[in-house]
Amino acid sequence: MLYLPSDTFRNTPVTNDLAIILVEPDRDKANQIVDSLADAGFARIQVITEASSLKRQISAIDPDIVLIDIANPSRDMLEEMTIASQPMDRAVAVFVDRSDDALTSAAIEAGVSAYVVDGLRPDRVKPVLDAAIARFNVFQRMRTELAETKRALEERKVIARAKGLIMKAKGIDEDEAYALLRKAAMNQGKRLADVAEALVESAGLLA
């Protein structure tokens, strides 16, 4: 194991000189993944953002590992690499080792898949995948958070509209309208936002 002088490689051991391709159309996301891999000691990374002629681009670079988001529709093009059509082609398998299901499963849950040249030792590939999985887990968390924030915002809007409807219909003030809405939700055993949404929807029918 070789240690390089500090700073340059942030004291991480260079364990590996694998050539890695990352297929990722979003540049921001690609940069973050490349940084994560660099932190883990991998420097030979090329990013492909353009999905057209993906196969040609990949065979020109001749990588050891290709990483791709499992949500990327162009992933099916990579499946073709699993058939070594020419004797000179290097056969490719998905993931480290077909026996290492836990790692593969973790990768799929995180949302990343790796196409690996056949015969590459699992211990050489694992650190790449570990770094990628960690980064993709962060993406997934961010996506969930974003979705949650959006939903909360939508709900707040609906509740405000429902309150408005009640205020208008009953001639009461905002606090009273809110209390009424909350009481209805408690009585029905439903979420406040759901009751508000039902109200807004039915009001739409009556309008």
């Binding site: 057209s52 499992i70 992933r75 099916d76 499946e79 058939i83 993931f95 299901d101 799929i108 849950e109």
Partner: protein, 391 residues
């Protein structure tokens, strides 16, 4: 009664209809099941999610479980087909430039004759004919390969079957990376609508009764959850029967076009269900009876002979051992489970698990458990007959 939840993955295609109908029209509920359908961005991701247990079952290209059994593809966890979800349903299209060349050479775009269309296509290409298919392990790839090799295109240098995800087909055509493509609906119709292609042929003109999609599960899942598998098969069978009734067309079209499913204009979805296509931007219309079938002629029955045909085709295309491929392929189509699930329900359940493929040129009555099965035409365009290996 508490419903049993089942996670099912699908690709937004018209032939996901039986699963969508099973979930939306109450057929799953009748069997005590609640289906959660999730759309997948690609076939490989759908397969991986099924293989690693994030899904219980999936809408899958018929050759995918077979590819896995042959050790082909990224993840090769054994998968089995519980039923055939659809028969036929793909179209072959050509770039407008090739289409114009074929027209100039006198081709009529009759949309029904695979021999004439194939020869015209081969004649319009100077060197290598490049055809895009959605996945390397698909009926698209096998049927195109069967078709062109039967017409004498033998050399691998003269034909190149490439994987291009359907949403990327238009760009690949425009960029001249492919000359032609073979896709499922709605992709054929939408390529005409956007003016990038002319349609040449429905794949049913190559093989009149080709299994297209299957209901796939992990091999182990089917054995550990036999009762659930039976209920799922019955729910899908009833959904397919509903789909086959002409009165269901309107509602089926509307269901499929909804946002969580195909998210498309109903008119585009309807083309496939009616078998009525605009084949060029000039507005020529062609009609294909039985363009896609979910039910008739025991369409859902997973014939081991169909699996063997696919396995042997794959073996010859990719240079594998034929006998081994045939045996491995056969075992992936679970006609035994299908028969057990529907024994008391379906009247047209075949009493055999394999048949000679390609021999039916006119609808033919054959032995079945309820005595009422009529096999529809299943001929290959070149008249070849496929005899399965006795099990």
């Amino acid at each position: 009664m508490k419903l049993q939840e089942i996670q099912i993955g699908f690709i937004p295609l018209v032939d996901a209809a039986p699963l969508i109908a099973a979930s939306e029209m109450g057929f799953a509920e009748e069997e005590g099941l609640s289906l959660t359908l999730s759309r997948s961005p690609s076939w490989s991701t759908l397969r991986d999610k099924l293989c690693f247990g994030q899904l219980d079952a999936a809408h899958m290209l018929a050759p995918m479980p077979i590819a896995g059994a042959l050790g082909l593809g990224g993840v090769t966890t054994p998968l089995h087909a519980l039923s055939v979800l659809s028969v036929n349903g793909n179209v072959i299209g050509v770039s407008r430039e090739i289409g114009a060349r074929m027209r100039a050479a006198g081709h009529d775009f009759a949309f029904n004759d695979a021999e004439t269309a194939g020869r015209a296509l081969i004649g319009a290409i100077k060197d290598t004919l490049r055809i895009g298919v959605p996945f390397p392990f698909s009926m698209h790839a096998e049927l195109v390969h069967y078709w062109l090799t039967a017409l004498g295109v033998k050399d691998a240098h003269n034909i190149s079957i490439q994987t291009v995800p359907p949403p990327m087909m238009p760009d690949a055509l425009k960029a001249g990376e492919i000359d032609a493509f073979c896709v499922g609906e709605p992709w054929g119709s939408s390529s005409v609508e956007t003016g990038v292609a002319d349609l040449l042929l429905p794949c049913s003109a190559i093989w009149a009764f080709a299994p297209e999609k299957v209901l796939a599960v992990r091999a182990g899942w089917a054995d550990e959850n036999r009762d659930t598998a039976h209920r799922l098969i019955r729910a899908v069978w009833r959904a397919s029967r509903w789909l086959s009734e002409p009165s269901s067309l309107g509602l089926a079209t509307e269901l499929l076009s909804r946002t969580p499913y195909l998210d498309l204009a109903p008119e585009v979805v309807e083309c496939a269900l009616l078998g009525r296509f605009a084949i060029s931007s000039r507005g020529d219309v062609r009609t294909t009876a039985g363009f896609v079938d979910f039910f008739n002629g025991a369409a859902g029955f997973p014939w081991r002979s169909q699996a063997e045909w696919i396995g042997r085709q794959m073996a010859s295309r990719l240079g594998l051992d034929h006998a081994r491929a045939a045996k491995a392929a056969q075992a992936t189509f679970r006609s035994d489970i299908y028969r057990a699930a529907l024994g008391h329900v379906a009247h047209d359940l075949p009493s055999a698990s394999a048949k000679v493929e390609g021999s039916v040129t006119e609808p033919l009555a054959v032995g079945s458990i309820g005595g009422r099965l009529i096999l529809p035409r299943d001929a290959f365009f070149d008249g070849r007959i496929f005899e399965p290996t006795p099990a």
